[in-house]
């Protein structure tokens, strides 16, 4: 199997007091937070504002961040949730989950605060899984996307990729295993 893409994970950065710290935190988590905001707000422009606000609030609250209690990602995601909720309120829109891709499911569940929290949980899990998929090698990622996420027949996908079906099956297997490793690297528990 191809080598897993390795990203420098290193020790979690906790010093947000200076420009360098903010820059590094953005480099590590900015893309994820942007996607969270886009899904949460359903608007790329509002999402960009939200991302700026997240890092600003993180910087303001930097003294309250405790690396022994939560990863920087977890903490930033919490802040992102508050920012998204505030942005929705400021818009005078319906509850924040309006812009969620799966808001229909959430609303069908229960429109209360609990459902909102669960909705955010689910959204967060999805964003992290997508980020993990993005970090896979092309062969693994495409195998999983085309067969499973797009729900297409294996022979069709194998033909399109120009490989035997057995190879495609093998890519699905090793792709899942690679996904597991990537999520461990990201410190995400399933």
């Amino acid at each position: 199997m191809p080598a897993l893409p390795r990203r420098p994970t290193g020790p979690l950065l906790t010093d947000l007091s200076g420009e360098e710290g903010v820059r590094e935190a953005y480099a590590a988590h900015g893309a994820e937070i942007y996607r969270l905001a886009v899904r949460g707000l359903g608007d790329a422009g509002a999402a960009q504002d939200a991302v700026q606000e997240v890092f600003l609030r993180a910087w303001r609250a930097r003294d309250r961040y405790d690396a022994s209690r939560a990863s920087l990602r977890t903490w930033l995601f919490e802040i992102a949730r508050n920012v998204v909720v505030d942005a929705q309120r400021a818009r005078g829109a319906r509850p924040w989950l309006r812009g969620l891709v799966d808001h229909r499911d959430l609303e069908a569940d229960a429109p209360g605060a609990g459902a909102t929290a669960d909705g955010w949980e689910a959204l967060t899990r999805r964003i992290l899984l997508e980020e993990a998929l993005r970090r896979l090698g092309d062969d693994h990622r495409r195998a999983l996307e085309e067969t499973y996420l797009a729900d297409r027949p294996y022979p069709e996908v194998a033909a399109e990729l120009g490989v035997p079906e057995s190879t495609l099956r093998s890519r699905v297997f090793y792709g899942l295993k690679a996904l597991r490793v990537v999520m461990e690297e990201m410190e995400v528990t399933l």
Partner: protein, 230 residues
């Protein structure tokens, strides 16, 4: 059947398609029969199942290939610019708080290097600045105001140390350093303290050789204090 057995290897790699529920029924039956007698493959399957669950959740939510919204170019710059602006604002606010001032005008926030500190003359002397200061003459156009100024030649730009009294209590004043090119460069802002004497550190990004003078303007844009450097 051993671990290196190609037939076993095929069964094992089929576990991926199996946990995703896409194995044809006859092959799935064969895999299940094998799982019943192979602890290694059962462990493998158990490792893969949570991923299948997570992917299933993703597929239900998105109903298709995942969308990786690319992060817009330049968002990193926006994040840093907001941060820099806010940090500068906070420094000005801290300065205003220390001097008991209500507010500080902040239009020039992003570009001004920001007032670092201001103390009243009655305070114990601040730590001596190791950088030599250069006295400059000032012209006061508001008769109620008295002011003196000195310059500090920093490597990052010239700092104006402005002492004075008679600036309208609570009134906002903007300070600009005038460059040798005739342009005005923001050097921060302060709020008047009335009869109390004040000392403001006003930092500009203009290097001393490129600085020709400074101006203090009141809220209506009138120059109340000005200086031409020699």
């Amino acid at each position: 059947m051993t671990a290196r057995d190609p037939e076993h290897e095929k069964l094992r790699t089929d576990l991926g398609v199996y946990v995703l529920g896409a194995l044809p029924p006859d092959e799935a039956a064969a895999v299940e029969a094998h799982l019943a007698g192979c602890a290694g493959c059962r462990a493998e399957r158990d490792d893969l199942l949570p991923l299948a669950d997570a992917l299933g959740d993703l597929r239900r939510a998105d109903g298709g290939p995942t969308r990786f919204e690319p992060t817009p170019d330049g968002l990193d710059d926006l994040v840093l610019a907001r941060f820099t602006q806010e940090r500068n604002r906070e420094r000005r606010t801290a300065w205003a708080r220390r001097t008991g001032l209500a507010a500080v005008a902040g239009a020039a926030a992003a570009t001004a290097l920001v007032v670092g500190l201001a103390v009243t003359r009655d305070d114990p002397a601040p730590a001596a600045d190791p950088v030599p200061v250069e006295p400059v003459s000032v012209r006061v156009t508001d008769r109620t105001v008295a002011a003196d100024a000195e310059l500090v030649n920093h490597t990052w730009g010239v700092e104006v140390l402005l002492t004075g009294r008679g600036f309208v209590e609570g009134g906002a004043y903007e300070v600009a350093v005038v460059g040798t090119d005739g342009r005005r460069y923001p050097a921060g802002a302060f709020v008047g303290t009335g009869d109390r004497e004040m000392l403001c550190h006003l930092n500009s990004a203009v290097l001393r050789p490129d600085a020709d003078g400074f101006e203090v303007r009141d809220g209506r844009g009138r120059v109340v204090v000005s200086s031409r450097f020699s």
